[in-house]
């Protein structure tokens, strides 16, 4: 009759009236299911299982023999010989609390498939020994599709305590044949899936145990990885010895920790880490740069950082929740496609200054987003792109730049409202390198002509951020352009030249800008390149020189952002020795540096 053989509790099997019939029917179902399991396993893993034989020297705890063919249903294999060497593990992990009068049925090796209905006592928990059927769910894990790096240890190994062996039951994964991660194996995606889970196959005994779960977190293929410096710091931290021995420590095995870390990292995968995880990337980039600087001793030009984050092709379809094999519950995928619903902002049409400022700020924010994209494209140029792609990117960038520029211009006021806000200054400063020559020149014009206003309303002292890009623009000016700028600078509508210059001298940015302009003029004059000046240019030039010289020698100067070295040469050309000397001392006292190494 179809009574299942249970070595230990044989006598507890009772025969209720329908017991036997149920037994037979259920066993039949069980047998069929086993058949299905076998088929599945064959398909997935191939028939390399040493099904009826010995456990091999790997100590491969999870290798199970196939149960006997279903044609002989009442013969589930006795658990002991073929299985795990350590006896305590064989104790079924369930507690069959059979209520009095209810017969309990134990699946044993048949696999815990949650056959709730076969247990009349709902208190009997499901048995998880045996091979559960594995659901292969679609995962957004790109780890699947990449070959495993040969020789990379995937899992750390720890000395197994009996308790840990005990741990291995419960939702474990069926291992593929003889997992030996040191040898490269062609892993099918399905196989890869099954390596996850807290109870994935243990590596072979010749691995040295390591308590650092992260060291072995080597994802095969293109996956977001930790920055190498980060990894190094982590491994360093591991070596810190902790005092005192905690007898309960490491209840959570390294494997389990890895599992969690992996799970969390999966959610962090990104195809554009510089955009989505900016602060982390930036932090390590700066650290690296600092270290490199210290090592080299010189401030060499920073190369674009080589990130270990390759690009991942994201799937176009988006699932809000992902079920990861081996874990209970679902994991929310954080994407930009489903952000939290924003509070519907209502735009009021008030024209008070605070509102205006907010409007400007909001515009700046929007433009910044576009600018970030442009900068990102610029950064990506360092990677190898095909000709056509590069061209396409450049066109796109240019369009975006043009968009930002026109936006800045159009909001009645021609840049000025934006420049009055410190964030706007930053935006313009970062935009300038991307602008065409004449657009950049226009910006420079605006700045110089409105210099007094800008200086007076620069409470955050954000103007200096504009200095470097503007300096670059200046260095490309023609003489006539330079002269017109100088004219703008010195002739404001409400202020005299004297006042303009005084103001400029009192302001770091203003003074630096002035110096830069003069320096460029001197460079042009002394370079011997034909200047093609317009009428009156030279007069204006000399006028400005005298005015500036007068100003500089008299009033107290602030320290400029940069003191060009050819200024005194310029002044020597036009002024007498005494004035030059006075200028020199005045300028030097402001900076503390020599104006000219003469």
């Amino acid at each position: 009759v179809c009574a299942p053989e249970w070595p230990e509790k044989g006598e507890e099997w009772s025969d209720g009236e329908d017991g036997t019939e149920m037994d037979c029917g259920l066993l039949q179902a069980m047998a069929e299911e086993d058949e299905e399991i076998n088929v599945y396993n064959e398909e997935t893993f191939g028939m390399d299982l040493d099904s009826h034989g010995t456990t091999d020297g790997h100590g491969d705890d999870l290798q199970f023999g196939k149960p006997s063919p279903p044609t002989a249903p009442p013969d589930p294999k006795p658990p002991s010989p073929r299985r795990v060497p350590s006896p305590p593990r064989q104790k079924p992990q369930y507690l069959p609390r059979t209520a009095p009068g209810h017969p309990g049925r134990f699946r044993g090796q048949r696999g815990g498939l949650g056959r709730g209905q076969m247990f009349e006592d709902p208190a009997v928990m499901r048995i998880v020994e045996g091979r559960p059927s594995l659901k292969v769910t679609k995962m957004h894990l790109f780890i699947m599709h990449a070959p495993m790096a040969p020789g990379s240890p995937v899992f750390s190994r720890q000395p197994l305590t009996p308790r840990q062996l005990y741990n291995q039951t419960g939702g474990f994964m069926f291992p593929p044949n003889r997992p030996c991660p040191s040898t490269p194996q062609p892993l099918t995606p399905k196989m890869m899936q099954l390596r996850f889970g807290a109870n994935s196959p243990r590596p072979s005994p010749f691995y040295s145990p390591s308590s650092n779960p992260v060291q072995h977190l080597r994802y095969p293929g293109p996956v977001t990885q930790l920055h190498p410096q980060h990894k190094r710091l982590l491994s360093q931290k591991q070596h810190i010895k902790s005092e005192g021995w905690d007898p309960y420590c490491n209840l959570m095995t390294g494997k389990e920790k890895e599992w969690i870390i992996r799970l969390q990292m999966i959610q962090l995968q990104s195809e554009n880490p510089y955009l989505e995880d900016y602060y982390y990337q930036e932090y390590y980039r700066r650290k690296e740069a600092k270290m490199a600087e210290e090592e080299l001793g010189i401030r060499s030009k920073r190369e674009p950082p080589k990130l270990t984050t390759p690009y991942i092709t994201k799937t176009d379809s988006y699932t809000p929740v992902v079920h990861i094999e081996g874990s209970l519950g679902q994991v929310a995928v954080s994407t930009c496609y489903s952000p939290r619903r924003a509070i519907g902002a209502v735009h009021a049409e008030q024209k008070d200054t605070r509102q205006q400022r907010l409007e400007i700020l909001s515009k700046i924010e929007k433009l910044f987003i576009v600018l970030l994209e442009v900068e990102e494209t610029e950064r990506m140029k360092t990677t190898v792109l095909s000709e056509a792609e590069e061209k396409r990117f450049m066109e796109k960038s240019q369009r975006k730049v043009a968009h930002i520029y026109s936006q800045l211009q159009d909001s009645g006021g021609e840049f000025l409202p934006f420049l009055l806000v410190s964030k706007g200054k930053k935006l313009v400063a970062r935009l300038l390198p991307f602008l065409q020559r004449d657009s950049a020149l226009k910006v420079l014009c605006i700045v110089t002509s409105n210099l007094p206003t800008l200086m007076s309303r620069d409470s955050d002292e954000a103007l200096p951020v504009l200095y470097p890009p503007l300096r670059n623009v200046i260095s490309g000016l023609t003489f006539s352009q330079l002269i017109s700028l100088l004219k703008d600078l010195t002739s404001s509508e409400s202020l005299t030249t004297y006042e303009c210059l005084t103001l400029a001298c009192q302001n770091k940015f203003g003074l630096s800008l002035l110096y830069a302009l003069l320096s460029h003029g001197e460079k042009l004059l002394s370079s011997g390149v034909p200047l093609e000046p317009s009428i009156g240019d030279f007069e204006t030039w000399t006028d400005v020189i005298f005015q500036v010289a007068g100003q500089l020698s008299q009033c107290s100067l602030v320290e400029p952002l940069l003191l060009p070295s050819n200024l005194l040469t310029l002044f020597c050309r036009y002024l007498d020795k005494r004035t030059v000397h006075q200028l020199k001392s005045n300028m030097e006292s402001a900076t503390g540096f020599l104006a000219l190494p003469s």
Binding site: L234, D246, I261, Q264, G329
Partner: protein, 133 residues
């Protein structure tokens, strides 16, 4: 040091003594032994600490498993740091008694308040019923 860039992780907190505040107001202190991806926590040698005024009492609870969503905050306890607190430890019975009294007075005042509001035709929903905002 964080294993997981850009996020928080409890991996480094394992096997350390922690204090956790739960959503129902309980305070538990214990050794964090295990976690999972939902921040479900397994505490070992857990002690539930009840505070009433300047007194507190510890109830030993053994092993606790806390579902992640019920955690308000969780922090490591530095066992080496000297503890100079004004709090006074009392026995379990005493602290439970104190707690009961506290609850009682609270309920009474609440009752009075509700009555007063009711008289004026107002009603304020109780905060613990609101789970969303």
């Amino acid at each position: 040091m964080n294993y997981v860039p850009g996020t928080a992780s409890l991996i480094d907190d394992i096997d350390k003594k922690h204090l956790v505040l739960l959503r129902d107001g309980r305070t538990l202190i214990g050794y964090l032994r295990s976690i999972d991806q939902f921040a479900n926590l397994v505490f070992h040698q857990t002690v539930e600490r009840i505070h009433v005024g300047k007194k507190f009492g510890d109830i030993p609870r053994g092993i606790f498993i806390v579902r992640g969503e019920n955690v308000v905050l969780l922090g490591e306890i530095d066992v080496e740091k000297p503890c100079d607190t004004v709090l006074q430890q009392v026995s379990i019975e005493e602290i439970l008694e104190e707690q009961r009294l506290q609850q009682q007075t609270k309920q009474e005042t609440e009752k009075v308040k509700m009555q007063v509001l009711k008289d004026r035709g107002l009603s304020i929903p109780k905060a613990d019923n609101l789970d969303e905002y």
